[in-house]
Symmetry: D2
Subunit: 363 residues, 4 copies
């Protein structure tokens, strides 16, 4: 019942605050014999790191993960893997002035009410920095998926009303196009429009929401465990546990609500000597279990709550005040961009866990 | 790690197949001293029961729940509450002819691949009848919420492209309007259009998708436990664990992705001597914890997979076949209608659990 | 976090009170494809049933288990298996007179203090009748172990100061001797002395404690998961969760405390082309993981708390009273006898769970 | 289902190997508002540290714990508390020569068989050094218990056949006597005999087993959750999860098996205006729930497996070899001594968890 743990077999426990001493994760349940290095983890963290384009928060973290346990002679041993990232860049002084203000759209009010105490420095535990532990753990999960030949991907599919529509057909091309984009958007035309839109919002001190699409290929049939560990249920939980998320779709998602059964149903066909479906409106899942078709869905992110505009609010005594972002504060006008590798991380964690759990279902 | 259990403290374990001997649930973790009767549970099941309007499946189940344990002199004792509903109407013969066909949009293929065996009768464990246990458990959870003065509701907010838009402002009126509608739609105009649309689809042997909206009022501040037991994360998991669901939204949901931060942020204000927000785009949650504002979200349902049209498919040997719904089969053209009380049930289960879990967070 | 559930993968949830409508169990996580019948379960319950000898409680329950879910065409499907035993013989009237007395050695005081309410009829949830669900579940687990070729056994090894010492060397002979004994004691000489001792205690209205020994053969190497799911840790929990248990030993147990390392250490040898140990002081476990040698240990049971002697006590108002067992009450002078099949049941549940969990530890 | 986690609400996840980079623990579920410092934790670790007497292993670890997260302005925030202890003294070279030998009484054989890989350096994850994380976590739990006014203690009650018998009546005196003893034995006479016995065993290169007694006073009534989270069940699991443990007793333990019911039953009496029992054979528990009387039990430890005598064994290829402890190896002739603070740590963890869980059982 640990509220900072996720997963059944491949189970992670994340810890750490934005301006605390360090941030990290303990992975329990990773099978023994998997080759993993600190370099693997740091590469994954580098993809997540902000500051590599003008559209995300300029914090220069240069995160460096260290593996403290669970690896022997380059391989997992079955023991818990502890990964630690020391926090370097953490000037908390700017938060002192605003520590008694209920910051709109932020954790301040609810954390303070719930716990009676709030580490307000950089958002504390509620900061998106918390996802460092998830990404580090997912670097291990992705090695596991690689071993099982499962491929995952995520990309920015919309910001505000601009949608990525011209997408490469092929998984590899899609991945390449995404990684070549400073905003993880594989549609070059949409990328340009989004960058302009973000620049405009930034100049106005405002922020924008967005959508991240995830996909997994080479999925085995059978992952996901009814009733409550259905693959889409765990994906939904995984994604909605991320900061700033407001919606989740699998397959057609809300669009399924406006379709008819005769259009939505995917016909079974024999192809490449496998049972497949002619279409994939279901998004690779039937009755909570993977069909072997590509697993796909979308996650909605709200516009960044931190904006450079004065906002009416209360202080902790209940008096009306105006909230202004402190001078020199970082300002990330669209969190959906940075969220792309994090969404992929959660996808990897969910699939890795379902894969292991699926080993127990037959005699 | 039980895949048929849900919840941390208020924890349910559901069991049973559509055409098995019975269906039921065991509730663990319900506090002692709560008054609960079989009548309470049967009333909840009656709301869920199909057949009370021409738009849902005509199966006449007349479910009758019995409490087998956990209640003494009309009150909970802290012991597990076992609730059993015997299955009555279960003619499985019609399923024999189609038992070797991979039914499009159904569990047949994935269950068979995963487990090597599939109880195909009425969909077995994958049938929506599985939700009887959830609704019975939620009848107990709803008594708990009543005790804590929390109110919940759900209604049909869209079918196909018809949206309920003219809604009563007031929670009580909304509830009344919903319960007065044979399709749980509180907007009389939309109700009429939806009924026509469903009648049309039915006449064509086709089916329609829909959306169910849920809401909770009088929420205390502080429910939901970061990081992975965030209230919206557990709601998302709860809803996506329901059959036929394809999407989940909290607050503005996907609409948040097209908003700007200055519009989406809810300003804190003092009202009725409480800290509230002037708007509620967040849907009653900040950083995974309830704000005390109404909790609201939406769940997308795909069109019913069972349609009265021939569909190309394979049999279990991989040979191409045509799937036809057996003569006399029930046919429910829009599962979203029946899903309304089930969505409310999941909402109640999640809130009850979060309420109890919240007792442990302070000294 | 369900307090009425046990096991990680092969997970049981038991429910029911001594004088409630029924008693039962839901098994989650049993692999699909296992042949199981109601007859299998009822045979296991028959072994547990009291009344087949003059030394245990004379209640004639003639328990009959029904499988309500999870079995299709004689085999498990991977869905939860719900087993229900209706309570028949439950005259609660005799408990009315003593319902306000804190019964010495019983649950009355602690349950009432903890929950504010106590189903006192027959001990309610705290009755040893609660173990019916465990034994039913273990009947399924034992089928699984049979499939994996693991053999389990338990026998009465001591009552009061009489110890079973002349034991058959061979597992099969030991099992036969145990099943031929009305008190599950494979040493005929000890059996006779114990029966005499029990008869004496009974004539005095008193009761006796005892010890049950458990053993498993053909164990695979590798079961048990460090650190907290060590095989002996889960066995200890399993056994101490049984009513009336006060002690647990694995291998030499407390005797290990008086040994020297040079005597206690088991030397590794090659035998039957397998790595074995020359002795087995460890009881088949090293560092929490099974060695492949016979798994063995012991469980201490206190003397039955219900005795036919007047006992000073308090009533629920705190007034001094004398507690007398009601006329016609059942009186079982040595619960350790009835506990024998229950100890074996817990052994089976623990091993089955460890077996499945062990599937996830390697690539 | 994390195998390296323990507890339901107050839940710890330990990680780290004997000769890895560090060792540590993440505590989830500690209530917010508890004052805790690194000094508190380091004091607890100092008590556990070996080397402060001639009777335990001479490794000079000078462990220094750092808190990496979860504390803000000196108090817990409700966020996970990550505690890290860097490993300093870890010369692994001596283990290279014996890495292919199955060390008698050690983890080598079972870990290698289970995982296919074994970090043999200093015993890796199976080393008693693993308990550093438990003790650090228990330092936090003990602060919680202090807040709730619950007192805990543990002491060495036997080594080989020497038993501590002359014990101070009073809890405080018992504690003082224990802490004044270099071997945590509050009976000065027994202490002397034990020291002599250990010196003898050491001189012979042999080792001795022992018993640790634990006790808790000022227990509230109501801790422990039937059926499977009974207080004694979780204590048993906690203790048997410790390295080298072979037995567990609560109250009279195995002695209860030789008592009669009329002697073992504790009569309820009114004393100090509270419901108490005249005797406490039960050890402070009835039906899995604390009675408010002192909670007490015992844990058996086997003699240290590492001895300075040649032992026949196999190497990993199955060839017969002789195992000799490498020159300069540490040799701790009686692990029961060092286990004393660790047993108390597990006691604290179990009680803290039960305390929090007990908040959820009433309306």
């Amino acid at each position: 019942m640990a509220t900072n743990s996720f997963g059944n077999i491949f189970r992670i426990t994340t810890w750490g605050e934005s301006h605390g001493k360090a941030i990290g994760v303990v992975i329990d349940g990773c099978p023994a014999g998997l080759a993993i290095s600190e370099e693997d983890i740091n590469q994954a963290l580098a993809r997540r790191a902000p500051g590599k384009n003008p559209y995300t928060t300029p914090r220069q973290e240069s995160d460096h993960a260290e593996i403290y346990s669970g690896i022997f002679e380059g391989k997992t041993t079955g023991a818990p893997i502890s990964i630690v990232v020391m926090n370097k860049d953490a000037d908390s002084s700017q938060y002192t002035d605003i520590k008694n203000l209920l910051r709109p759209g932020h954790a301040h009010f609810t954390y303070l009410e719930k716990y009676g105490i709030f580490d307000y420095r950089g958002g504390g535990r509620a900061s998106a920095r918390e996802t460092v532990g998830r990404v580090a753990a997912a670097a291990v999960a992705s090695k596991l998926l690689e071993h099982f030949n499962i491929k995952t991907h995520a990309y920015l599919s919309a910001v505000s009303s601009i949608q990525a529509t011209y997408l490469p057909d092929n998984f590899t091309q899609l991945k390449t196009a995404t990684l070549n984009s400073p905003i993880f958007c594989p549609d070059a035309h949409a990328e340009q429009l989004i960058c302009e839109q973000i620049a405009l919002a930034k100049s106005q001190g405002d922020s924008l929401g967005g959508v991240v699409t995830f996909i997994a290929e080479n999925m085995p049939v059978g992952l996901g465990d009814p009733i409550y560990e259905k693959l889409e249920a765990n994906l939904a939980k995984a994604m909605l546990s991320l900061p700033a998320t407001k919606g989740f779709e699998i397959g057609e998602g809300f669009n399924a609500a406006v379709m008819s059964g005769s259009t939505h149903n995917d016909a079974f066909i024999k192809q490449d000597n496998k049972t497949q479906t002619a279409t994939n409106h279901a998004g690779g899942i039937l009755a909570g279990i993977s069909t072997g078709m590509p697993l796909s869905g979308r996650v909605a992110f709200k516009p960044t709550s931190s904006i450079k505009k004065p906002q009416p609010t209360l202080d902790t005594t209940g008096t009306a005040q105006v909230f202004n972002l402190p001078e020199g504060s970082r300002h990330d006008p669209c969190v959906a961009i940075r969220a792309v590798p994090i969404v992929e991380a959660m996808l990897q964690l969910v699939i890795a866990d379902a894969y292991l759990l699926n080993r127990c279902v037959k005699l």
